[in-house]
């Protein structure tokens, strides 16, 4: 396998591509770890709702929430439940769907290779019947209702609806109780055929592992399946204006105090993945400098009782959309908005960004990455996230080291402006 080393992170990555299927296999060995962790992920999420099925001409628009529904259904096999196979091997398996990817995973402390084979098998063996599709609707309905009852989830969901006019990121990942009723076995099969080709997927493994053995195991599993190369998938997205759809969405729920999320819409990421990564890192540093726990603004807001320890500010960077999100629970959302926007304006006019803060936050960002690398689930999450956006976890520290304060200031002036802003508030009933 090919080997890449990151001196800054003190880690190695090994990779290869299995042809003709086109599956990429990546391994990050972690010496001394007892736990092993592997993911099999497809670049297919809730935003992929309109596309052209390979071998057909006309675009297909599918019901909202179908990627998530498909994730649930892949756990069903003719001979029973996938959970049992992993349980027999003493492993834990799971999966999650987000806006742009679906990830199947397991973690184990023994039987790694049988687990890996089980993972590859179940994801490549769809089994949809009218009965098992109908049964899943009850389960997913309860999942959606659980989220609907969560004020912290609702405030974020509403923010996405305020920010985007047409982009499907405005729709909840799981869809709605109504939209999932339209899902049937045939539609699931079409989505599966389009997005679960190995060339649209990546296999990642980490733990105290031999990369060559991982590759050989995957190769052995794939070769009898007779995959043909697949042409690039045609995904269709509506054109999205630069403005926000609504400046504000408010709702009432049973909460102890209001919850505020404030979003700044960003332009869709461009064609150059490294430039996108750079924009993500620069924006992340900017948000940390302005709103992080060591910032003056955070101290002021905290002392005035407007935020608590859980107040957060982060950049959500997808392959097809991006925004900055900040907020949390607050006794007075209007006053919090005023002070946040005031703080941003103050930083924009004067030389409001300090070089010492910049250097510290940049160092801190490296440190945080090192902390995350302790955890195999985080390693896998980060790896897949960057991989699907055409870049790499290993490029991250290099770009981070080259970022300048001027870039951060330019970003502040360009991105955190009132025209890009929308707010979502949950009020107590």
């Amino acid at each position: 396998m090919h080997k890449i080393t990151s001196q800054l992170l003190g880690e190695n990555l090994y990779y290869d591509v299995i042809e003709p299927a086109g599956l990429q296999v990546w391994v990050m060995p972690k010496r001394g770890y007892k736990k092993n962790y592997a993911t099999f992920a497809t670049k297919y999420g809730s935003v992929d709702r309109e596309f052209i099925v390979p071998g057909t001409q006309a675009p297909l628009r599918v019901p909202d929430g179908i990627a998530h529904f498909l994730e649930h259904k892949l756990f069903e096999e003719p001979d029973g439940n996938v959970f049992d196979h992993f349980a027999e091997l003493g492993a834990a398996c799971n999966a999650y769907t987000n806006y742009e990817a679906t990830t199947y995973l397991f973690s184990c402390t023994e039987n790694f290779y049988p687990c890996l084979e089980t993972l590859l098998d179940f994801v490549q063996n769809p089994f949809f019947t009218p009965e098992n599709v109908a049964k899943e609707k009850g389960i997913i309905e309860q999942e959606l209702r659980m989220y609907e009852d969560s004020p912290r989830w609702r405030v974020s969901s509403n923010l996405m609806k305020a920010i985007f006019h047409h982009h499907p990121a405005r729709v909840d990942i799981g869809g709605t109780v109504a939209s999932i009723q339209e899902i049937d076995a045939e539609l699931l099969q079409k989505c599966y055929r389009t997005f679960y080709h190995p060339s649209n997927m990546v296999l990642f493994a980490t733990g105290d592992l031999d990369p060559d053995q991982v590759l050989a195991t995957v190769q052995r599993d794939l070769s009898p399946r007779g995959y043909e190369p697949q042409a690039p998938i045609k995904r269709l997205f509506p054109s999205e204006p630069g403005s926000c759809y609504q400046s504000r969405i408010e709702e009432k729920m049973v909460v102890s105090q209001p919850i505020l999320k404030l979003g700044f819409k960003d332009g869709a990421p461009g064609a150059d993945p490294t430039a996108n990564l750079r924009r993500e890192i620069v924006t992340g540093i900017l948000l940390e400098m302005l709103f992080g726990k060591s910032s003056q603004l955070y101290a002021t807001l905290y002392e005035q009782g407007l935020i608590d320890q859980r107040f957060s500010a982060h950049y959500m960077n997808g392959a097809t959309f991006a925004l900055s999100v900040l907020g949390g629970e607050t006794r007075d959302p209007e006053r919090l908005i005023e002070l946040v926007t005031g703080g941003i304006a103050a930083a924009q006019t004067s030389d409001g960004l300090d070089i010492k803060d910049f250097a510290r936050v940049r160092n801190k960002t490296t440190g945080e990455l090192l902390h995350l690398l302790n955890r195999l689930d985080e390693v896998a999450y980060l790896f897949n996230d960057y991989h699907f956006r055409g870049t790499s976890l290993f490029v991250y520290p290099e770009v981070l080291a080259s970022v300048t304060l001027k870039e951060v200031h330019d970003r502040l002036v360009e991105h955190l402006v009132p025209e890009n802003m929308a707010v979502s508030i949950i009020w107590p009933e």
Binding site: F83, D84, E88, I139, Q142, S150
Partner: protein
């Protein structure tokens, strides 16, 4: 599983637990002060770490503390309370970045540890009182935090079930205390209370990372020289012997869409009992995994819920079952859940269920050694409960558990409280909540 915590008692009765490993890029520290969970002091105790978070004389603001930690290559500091059984723990934590490439790492780690001790021993104070302003702000923050429990419905239902079930026991208290106590707390009284806490409470330092006990001891020495402590008083363990006269049914209405059904059981098995291992396996078979009876029967077969689990509160002898269901399915869900408990009690446990559950538990424990936080949490839980066996022996005992052991361990299991949180009744036929 190789390494273990090396335990030494340092000066001033501080116990040090050091787990040495080279595989992490961090050094994790937890300074733990143990208190009895009691009505009279629960809120004062909860407030302490929040006030401590505001800084020390040399780092006199939260901002100064955070800045200092960030300068140590993005290290992280926090202080909060948690509860284990009927004990309330003040935990000051630091996760220090320990990059292998930094030349003066020893000095950095010593400095990071110094921040913890500095905050513990020399918090911002004047004339025998914490700073008024900090205490006032943190009282407000704590008040909002406690009230904010209702914002997370699943956790709220869990806490309410335990509160109702343990009405006359300390375990009903949440770690962050009670809103009603806050008004009478002032900066002077709280400071005096802190001095007492510092002098008399059991105090433990847990360390995981690439350091030796001798190094940690050397770094602690100058700090401990300034502490003055009496012998820590022993804290009594919780009672697991509450008797159940009749099953209590608690019904609570809130404007929500999904019903949260929780069932609280008494296990009558102390954490130190040899039957504890059988009980752990029983809880796993019941609702610890995706192959468990609750997940399979409530979710996969009946399609009634997205989540259905059981949780063992081993330190207090409780098992709590939780499931999110449509309120109209209450009777059906309750019947299915009760049937699963009865099945285990009557020995309807397949070989696969037993075996898979044991493997799953063993996997969970083996994974712990790859997580600094997980290692420390497991060791803290064992120490608090007076458990002297290590993870390895714990796993060995679990792997020996037979079906008979499981059945014997759940024989005394007794339903105590059924708690149901749901939307306004009657539920209309179209379900409501179609707002997305």
């Amino acid at each position: 599983m190789g390494n273990k915590f090396i335990v030494r008692t340092l000066n001033e009765q501080v116990r040090m637990h050091v787990y040495r490993t080279e595989k992490f890029k961090t050094l994790s520290l937890r300074l733990v002060i143990c208190r009895p969970l009691q009505e009279q002091q629960v809120t004062k105790t909860a407030l302490l770490p929040w006030v401590l978070r505001r800084g020390s004389r040399s780092l006199p603001t939260s901002r100064a503390v955070m800045t200092k930690m960030e300068e140590l290559y993005g290290s992280v500091f926090n202080a909060d309370v948690s509860k284990i059984g009927e004990r309330q723990m003040i935990v000051l934590s630091a996760d220090l970045t320990d990059p292998p490439t930094v030349p003066d790492r020893g000095r950095l780690l010593e400095e990071g540890m110094g921040v913890l001790f500095d905050i513990l021993q020399d918090p911002v104070s004047t004339n025998g009182a914490f700073q008024e302003e900090y205490v006032a702000q943190e009282k407000e923050a704590l008040r909002r935090h406690i009230k904010g429990l209702v914002n997370d419905k699943m956790n709220y239902a869990m806490v309410r079930c335990i509160e109702e079930m343990c009405k006359n026991e300390p375990f009903a208290l949440i770690a962050h205390g009670r809103v009603a106590d806050l008004d009478e707390i002032d900066a002077t009284g709280l400071y005096a209370f802190y001095q007492q806490v510092l002098a008399e409470s059991p105090c433990d330092l847990y360390v995981v990372g690439n350091v030796t006990p001798a190094e940690v001891e050397a770094w602690c020495r100058p700090w401990l020289a300034r502490l003055q402590r009496s012998n820590p008083f022993p804290i009594p363990g919780p009672s697991v012997e509450a008797s159940v006269a009749a099953v209590r049914m608690v019904d609570e209405v809130q404007d929500i869409g999904q019903g949260k059904l929780h069932l609280g059981f008494r296990t009558h098995v102390p954490r130190t009992s040899p039957d504890y291992f059988g009980l752990q396996v029983a809880n796993g078979i019941l609702g610890g995994f995706a192959h468990s009876k609750l997940f399979q029967n409530v979710r996969e077969k009946a399609s009634l819920a997205y989540y259905a689990f059981s949780r063992l509160e081993g330190s207090k002898g409780l098992i709590v079952i939780g499931a999110g269901i449509d309120a109209r399915n209450f009777d059906q869900a309750l019947d299915i859940i009760k049937a699963q408990v009865e099945a285990i009690k009557s020995g309807q446990i397949s070989d696969d269920e037993l075996e898979y559950t044991k493997r799953g538990l063993l996997n969970h424990y083996r994974e712990l050694i790859d997580s600094p936080g997980g290692l420390i949490a497991a060791q803290m839980e064992a120490d608090v409960n007076g458990i002297t066996i290590g993870l390895e022996e714990h796993c060995a005992a679990l792997s020996r558990v037979s079906k008979d052991d499981v059945v014997r361990a759940v024989t005394p299991l007794e339903l105590d409280t059924i708690y149901f949180l749901h939307g306004p009744v009657p539920a209309s036929e179209d379900g409501g909540g179609q707002n997305a």
